[in-house]
């Protein structure tokens, strides 16, 4: 792995966090901490991990499903950076008639591979995409699904998990952003999901656990995936911290949805830059 690629991931994670703060100032309310926990993951996916082209509709591209759709605010700046839509769109975030809402709409936003927002659906959609890719002969295409840990309470996730291994979908990668929290507090208190890796293994998946804030670890896990044409679905359990990057948001229940006034936003950006 190139040092420059590692730095790209760090830089993009910084973009994700800073733009999330900026856009929530536009909206007046939004999800900070769920985005912060997967900033490095999203940064890595768009730093050479996913197979993409200039055309966001390229049929053989890799696809990303944000099963935890409430982190779309972190995705939008990365799609704008790729030139999939004008960066001015970002300034319209959540305004009346904007294509960009809290949850992503594939019909209105180039580069969004599937609309999401209702937790528990994404892995099923990914199973369908992975099967369709096989049927169409897109042998190198991978389908990436980003899930939250509390989301794993949804039963449909496990319907999908069981079918993915039954169908031998080695072109499907589930990344669990295990940020330890849901809306009401700590995942393990509200409704536990551990052992996450053990559960996926029991459903027939290959599992690797990594530090989800370590760009090198994310890139290494992606590089170590078997070929997409192989027969076992892959799960990356990314151990993360909800709110990572802004100290008072880290593992804080009250920052799942919130608003920083301009002074606090500036201070938060400063901290992100210092730790970046």
């Amino acid at each position: 792995m190139e040092a420059s690629q590692v730095q790209e991931v760090r830089d993009r994670a910084g973009v994700v966090r800073r733009e999330t703060i900026r856009l929530i100032e536009v909206a007046g309310n939004g999800h900070y901490s769920s985005v912060f926990s997967c900033a490095e993951i999203m940064g890595a996916l768009y730093s050479g991990v996913m197979r993409l082209a200039e055309d966001p509709e390229w049929p053989e591209r890799d696809r990303l499903i944000l099963s935890k759709g409430h982190v779309a605010i972190g995705l939008y700046p990365l799609l704008a950076e790729r030139g999939y839509f004008p960066s001015e769109w970002l300034d319209s975030y959540t305004r009346l008639g904007s294509p960009l809402g809290d949850h992503p709409d594939m019909r209105r936003i180039p580069g969004v591979d599937f609309s999401s927002g209702s937790l528990g659906h994404g892995l099923s959609v990914g199973v369908g995409m992975a099967q369709a890719a096989r049927l169409r002969g897109y042998d190198e295409t991978r389908i990436w699904v980003l899930l939250g840990d509390q989301e794993l309470n949804e039963g449909q996730v496990w319907e999908a998990a069981g079918s993915a291994s039954h169908f031998g979908l080695g072109n499907l990668v589930a990344i669990v952003d295990a940020n330890q929290m849901g809306l009401d507090g700590m995942t393990e208190e509200t409704m536990p999901v551990e052992p996450i890796g053990g559960r996926f293994e029991a459903f027939g998946w290959e599992v690797v656990e990594i530090d989800g804030h370590d760009p090198e670890a994310i890139l290494a896990a992606a590089a170590a995936l078997p070929p997409a044409a192989s027969g076992k679905p892959q799960c990356i359990v990314a151990r993360t911290v909800k709110g990572k990057g802004v100290s008072y948001m880290e593992l804080s229940r009250t920052w799942h949805i919130g608003y920083l006034d301009p002074d606090d936003a500036a201070a938060a950006v400063k901290e992100i830059d210092q730790r970046g």
Binding site: P59, I65, D105, M106, R107, D113, F114, S115, G117, S118, H121, S124, V125, G126, V127, G128, M129, A130, Q131, A132, A133, L135, R136, I143, Q156, E159, A160, G162, S163, F167
Partner: protein
């Protein structure tokens, strides 16, 4: 049996009872598997998916011809719908089959969020709709699905009443850009369209199967043949009754129905659905939209606040007045009013 006091147990029609063996022999109206197999010969994007029900809906007929494009997800209807959405987003044309309550109700949110909202061309074969599965009970009935499906933006809802109509519906909707909900019966339905001129079933158009000035009957699914039979009996008493098959529930051909109801001044709607939210509601909306609120409207269906009694399907249809005798009785009341 004191607990049955006050409940009329219907006589067994024709001296025969409803059983699974009889159902298997009479499943000829489940032609979707065969029709789709033929369509798939021409269209490499068609896939068929079911949830451990391939013998219940005869999608096994598709599997026999195109096993590489047949997927069984086991008992996971919500997953099936979302998975089909993912396949459609990559360019496939999935048809998913399951008992109506387990797809049209259980997976209702997945249909709304993953099919209709993003406009995915997934087709749902929702079979054994209404109370068609009889004494298996309310868990296996779907008497609310039309109400749900016809309030979802971007949905198309079609209720073919027999094998001929099912094939016409499948073929005529093949190129629609969004999702389609096919509400299918019990797989042993009375043929209506095979005796009519080819092309009589046209997607999006209410089918006028009989014309008369005294009363308009709008039917759907199993009540179509029953309504025709009732109209025949009424003709013996010189009542001229129109019978309309409102097979396409969304988009709804309210114009045709309003024209006939406006002329007769009396409208009877018979459907295998709760009287709230289904075809009767769609008709009432059409009457009001066309300035015909004074048309006298009567409804046959599941009573608004009742779940079905236990019984064989034919007995239930008789009990709730959804058969020819029930429609005739209600029609006579309306004609006399």
């Amino acid at each position: 049996m004191a607990e049955l006091e006050g409940i009329e147990v219907a006589p067994v029609p024709g001296g025969k009872s409803w059983d699974l063996a009889g159902m298997a022999q009479l499943s000829q109206s489940f032609v979707a598997g065969k029709v789709l197999a033929a369509m798939a010969d021409e269209d490499p994007d068609i896939v068929v998916i079911t949830a451990d029900m391939k013998f219940s809906n005869m999608t096994v007929d598709f599997e026999r011809v195109h096993p590489e494009r047949f997927i069984n997800v086991g008992i996971s209807e919500q997953h099936m719908v979302s998975m089909a959405a993912g396949m459609a987003s990559v360019g496939m044309k999935p048809y998913v089959g399951a008992f109506a309550p387990f797809v049209g109700l259980l997976a209702g949110e997945q249909i709304r969020t993953d099919l209709a909202y993003p406009g995915m061309p997934v087709r749902i074969l929702a079979h054994h709709a209404g109370i068609a599965i009889g004494f298996y009970g309310t868990s296996h009935h779907a008497t609310e699905d039309l109400g749900l499906m016809r309030s979802i933006a971007n949905m198309t809802v079609v209720c073919p009443c027999d094998a001929t109509a099912t094939e016409a519906a499948l073929r005529q909707t093949a190129d629609l850009p969004g999702p389609v909900y096919f509400r299918l019966g019990r797989g042993r339905d009375v043929d209506v369209y095979d005796a009519l001129p080819a092309g009589k079933w046209r997607f999006g158009e209410a089918a006028v199967l009989r014309e008369g000035e005294d009363l308009t009957i709008v039917a759907n699914g199993i009540t179509v043949s029953a309504a025709l039979e009732a109209a025949g009996k009424l003709a013996g008493d010189h009542y001229e009754v129109s019978v309309i098959d409102a097979h396409t529930v969304r988009p709804f051909d309210g114009t045709t129905i309003a024209a006939y109801a406006g002329r007769s001044g009396k409208l009877l709607v018979a459907e295998e659905h709760n009287v709230v939210g289904g075809v009767a509601s769609a008709c009432a909306e059409a009457l009001v939209e066309h300035g015909l609120a004074d048309v006298k409207l009567e409804r046959i269906g599941m009573p608004a606040d009742e779940y079905s009694l236990i019984g064989p399907p034919t007995h239930l249809y008789r009990h709730y007045g959804m058969d020819a005798a029930g429609i005739e009785t209600k029609a006579r009341e309306l004609l006399a009013a």
